[in-house]
Symmetry: C2
Subunit: 206 residues, 2 copies
DNA sequence: GGGCTTTTGTGAAAGATTTCACAAATCTAG
DNA sequence: CTAGATTTGTGAAATCTTTCACAAAAGCCC
């Protein structure tokens, strides 16, 4: 498939959320202009974004809410489930697992690891926290597609390497480091420090 | 000041983190090439990013690590402290307040609010959880610059409006909604659903 | 000091993304 | 069925961002 800009994919995700709101309110159809104004963008942007994937609208009428929701879910790959290993049993990992949206989008946490002996063996949202020593054995017995890295910065790269060697296809990284992985592995880093600093910049420079 | 791209500011934040690592390792100077390769970008990009703010390097030598750290902290506005109100006393808020980087960057949480009677009155990281009913009184007595919105989606916009009316200058939003605010107020939304969906997209389309 | 090496700072070129603007569809009403 | 009103889909233009490429500066060595 032709290369799609990250910014476009992020907006598709936004449109999906807005469409679900329109659906709840009982709307049958929606125009690019309506989507745009709710989403803080322009109607031309909405139409261009969608046009990369096909033409889903009817001229003069707009888009069928239900159909567009279905199409966007399909484009974003939200029909399937992903098996997830959580690497690190701290606060953020815990908040993540309890976050409904995680499971709603098909992310199913099947194992959880930590180094802290105080945590190992504890029950944690229905799973038993395992030692990272058993990472290889466990992930070979029960493979996963996604690893969520929720460890201190200094442990993140080594654990990422081990996960990749075990066949993990994607890394969701919450550690404040730049991870190195082979080209075929997808990495998405969520870096709160960075968000705080851009906020600080915006507050300072006005 | 000339308008700086968001992507540039994000990279400055990244450079700062990398420089702090170089500093720990005792490096005196660093070249744009060294920064670039550790940060997954190009040396030209590093130099261009910095050039928007001045010329901090020495030709033939590179950048003084210490000086560049100081300059970047200044550019990003990290010298000062910000008073923060946390709106919502759930998991994410809790993880946030305990996150060292939050305080390290000068974000000082001075009050915390919730609607849940079971939470109100509880001690929470040294602060007492207050009812949102007392938001106005409390923030008038002890003004803050930043409000962190960690509430369900349906409550976020109304609370944002109340905060803005009370003089809040910036909103850090973790609710999965598009917030509307006056132009002079800065909003930064951290939307996990969106990150999950872009990851799902990347896994699906390859 | 002069020649060699390194590395910055920056215009210009290339590439990517967003906005414009309008023909083509489709609906509505009479 | 025709006229008028909407709204899509999309090339072309405008704008924004990244990369290129090279002169200028600075250190190093003999």
């Amino acid at each position: 498939m032709r290369k799609i800009a990250e910014s476009t994919v992020r907006r598709l995700s936004l449109y999906l959320r807005l469409l679900e709101e329109f659906e709840e309110q009982g709307a049958e159809t929606v125009s690019s202009e309506a989507l745009a104004s709710r989403g803080g963008t322009t109607s031309a942007q909405v139409r261009k974004d969608l046009s990369f994937f096909g033409s889903f609208g009817k001229r003069g009428l707009g888009y069928s809410v239900g159909e567009l929701v279905r199409r966007l879910r399909e484009i974003l790959g939200l029909g399937r489930t992903y098996r997830v290993a959580m690497i690190g049993a701290g606060k953020i990992g815990s908040a993540l697992v309890q976050y409904r949206g995680f499971r709603q989008r098909g992310f199913e946490v099947v194992s959880i690891f930590d180094v802290d002996p105080a945590k190992i063996g504890r029950s944690w949202n229905g799973l038993t926290v395992q030692s990272v020593v058993s990472l290889e054995g466990e992930l070979r017995a029960h493979p996963v597609e996604i690893a969520v890295i929720v460890t201190p910065a200094d442990a993140a790269q080594a654990l990422t390497g081990r996960c990749v060697a075990l066949g993990v296809k994607a890394i969701l990284n919450f550690a404040p480091v730049q991870l190195t992985v082979p080209d075929e592995v997808v990495v998405k880093t969520v870096n709160l420090a960075l968000e705080l600093e851009t906020l600080s910049y915006a507050l300072t420079n006005r």
